[in-house]
Amino acid sequence: MEKLKHPDDLQKFRKSLESKHRPDMVRIFICTTGCRALGAEEVCKAFKSEIEKQSLKDKVEIVDTGCQGLCARAPVLTIEPMGIFYGRVTETDVPEIISRTILKGEVIERLCYTEAGKKTPYIRDIPFYGKQKKIVLRNCGAINPKSIHEYILRDGYSAISKALSGMTPDDVVNEIKNSGLRGRGGAGFPTGNKWEFVKKAAGDVKYLVCNGDEGDPGAFMDRAVLEGDPHSVIEGMLVGAYAIGSKKGIVYVRAEYPIAVEHLNIAIQQAKALGILGENILGTTFSFDLEIKMGAGAFVCGEETALIASIEGKRGMPRPRPPFPATSGLWGKPTNINNVETFANVPIIILKGSEFYKAIGTGTSKGTKIFALAGNVKNTGLVEVPMGTTLREIVFDIGGGIPGRKKFKAAQMGGPSGGCVPAQHLDLPIDYETVKEVGAIMGSGGLIVMDDSTSMVDIARYFMEFCQDESCGKCVPCRIGTKRMLDILTRITKGQGKKEDIGLLKELAEVTKSASLCGLGQTAANPVLSTIRYYLNEYEELINKKDSQTSPQESQTTQT
């Protein structure tokens, strides 16, 4: 592949790809990332051999894609241009799909999306997709993530080309600032401001880090983006690097995400081969190189100073801030760290303009948010909605509601740093501020739906066990605080709780929150506080039940 030597070359290259594109082909898009767990690769192989067998190579093309969202129906596929969506496809369905759907245009009912007995063959009619707004996930599930050509065909790398040909680094920073983009890793810090700090920081060497250490249990947004559209993250990083003046970037990915690492590696090689990464990008004076670092299994490494320590080859323990990484980060140099989803938002802002982006969302929170919808909900999967969408819309309209005859009890948002949002707040428009007001946090986007069979005290104990286990042990409030809270919660769930335990929990929670060194400890008590706030009765029931259980005679005597 020849390197592109000018920003304009990219558009020429895209046109040449377009001329080779065959719009008359039937394309079958098969998710071979998340759906791999349920046999998607076998389905893919079966399709390829069937196409070979029936000599349909000129008519039908198989596209291996990233996540298409509706994981509950895995393995899933979409057939274009018909717009047919099939789920729970097995190898044995393949010959029939070819002979009936592809060749005759018939719909195979048993593979269609079904809700309340109604079969919905076309993707445009499935409510799960209808209510979403795919900006970050625009390519996810629609292109082969291992092909830079497919990314370029969908305006890929046009944002960096635009920035390099007509925008100064200040223009880029201002555009991002004006867009209102906030960090998608959870804290919601304005991205443009962060970039500005690093840009203004003294020093020639600056680092740009992408935080892909997605560790919240129940969250898989970043995994899906890295697996399904790795080029969008690389492009976002390129724009960021140009804005802050960085020549060296690092993507830190969880070791548990092998497909993400594989796809990212391929994407980096392809971008280098085209002259989009490396020295003199698109023939300009801008150079930027990218390296992948794999995590080694430590939740706390999602915290930025711990992540930096881990990249430096140390135990991943956080350190006090200031100095902030923006002034003294990796190897003591100014470092800008953004989350995967944050970077994936950047190309569209540059390409379509901050005004376009700002028009989506609420007053304080702009754009969209990806949620990993899981738990007791029918349509488990990956959803992207504008900020300000209500929980009800996500859980019931998109998620299809609660399976069985159970009722919605709560949505856990923000993982171990977040809280449970109860049914009375179902109509709350979700943004950074509103979620915080009700005791949870936006977090990275894990959204676990719980039905009325879930014990909230058990959930609080579950998250505390997680935080206690993952606490790095450096600061006392977190190390001891989480341990003591876990002891109390375990005692309560075992029916050995004491009356004073709730007060003690609250006290410990406050201390751990205010005195811990990093985000892990500062937020570890949130699940406890939010469940005490909304489900105090469950705590009391368990504690009181214990009274009647352990001393039945005593309680009988008091009754008589």
């Binding site: 998340g34 898989f220 080694a296 299994g297 738990g375 993982g415």
Partner: protein, 164 residues
């Protein structure tokens, strides 16, 4: 702990260091930042981190053994003990938790008589702790090596384990 691991001498004899040297040869000018990638490759090559390999790393990188141990014991990915032929990971993410992961874990302990972080006596299975596998639609889910087993029940878990 396995005998061969505690005794450096025995260990050095038992371990073929060819793979270790091949990995280290890529790091002629190793910096501290290379430590974790080196350890990851060692673990891939040997299934765990043999003491003799760690000593080679020290010699090559000049990073003190104590620091190397500090890093190894911090990250859950690394193991200082030989591991079983198969690795079991039971997802303990939130979605799996509310859909019955604790029962699955109990069953594994009951069938294999090991807890998380342990290896069966016959070195057939190592039961690794993992926070979340990120495949919530399969909840409750476990992985044995690279294979996912989703929508588990206690009965299914037992059948799967016995099929190995």
């Amino acid at each position: 702990m396995h005998k061969n691991v505690t005794s450096t001498k025995e260990n050095a004899r038992a371990i073929d260091l060819t793979k270790c040297h091949a990995i280290l040869s890529k790091y002629n000018q190793a910096t501290p930042a290379d430590l974790i990638p080196i350890l990851q490759q060692m673990q891939d090559a040997y299934g765990y981190l043999p003491q003799s390999a760690l000593e080679e790393i020290t010699a090559r990188t000049r990073i003190p053994l104590s620091k190397i141990y500090g890093v190894i014991t911090f990250y859950s990915q690394f193991s200082l003990e030989p591991r079983g032929k198969h690795t079991i990971k039971v997802c303990t993410g939130t979605a799996c938790h509310i859909k019955g992961a604790p029962d699955i874990k109990k069953k594994i302990t009951e069938v294999l008589r090991i807890h998380e972080g342990e290896t069966t006596q016959d070195y057939k299975f190592t039961y690794d702790p993992v926070a979340c596998l990120g495949t919530c639609f399969l909840a409750p889910v476990m992985m044995i090596d690279d294979r996912y087993y989703g929508k588990l029940t206690v009965e299914k878990t037992e059948t799967i384990l016995k099929s190995y």
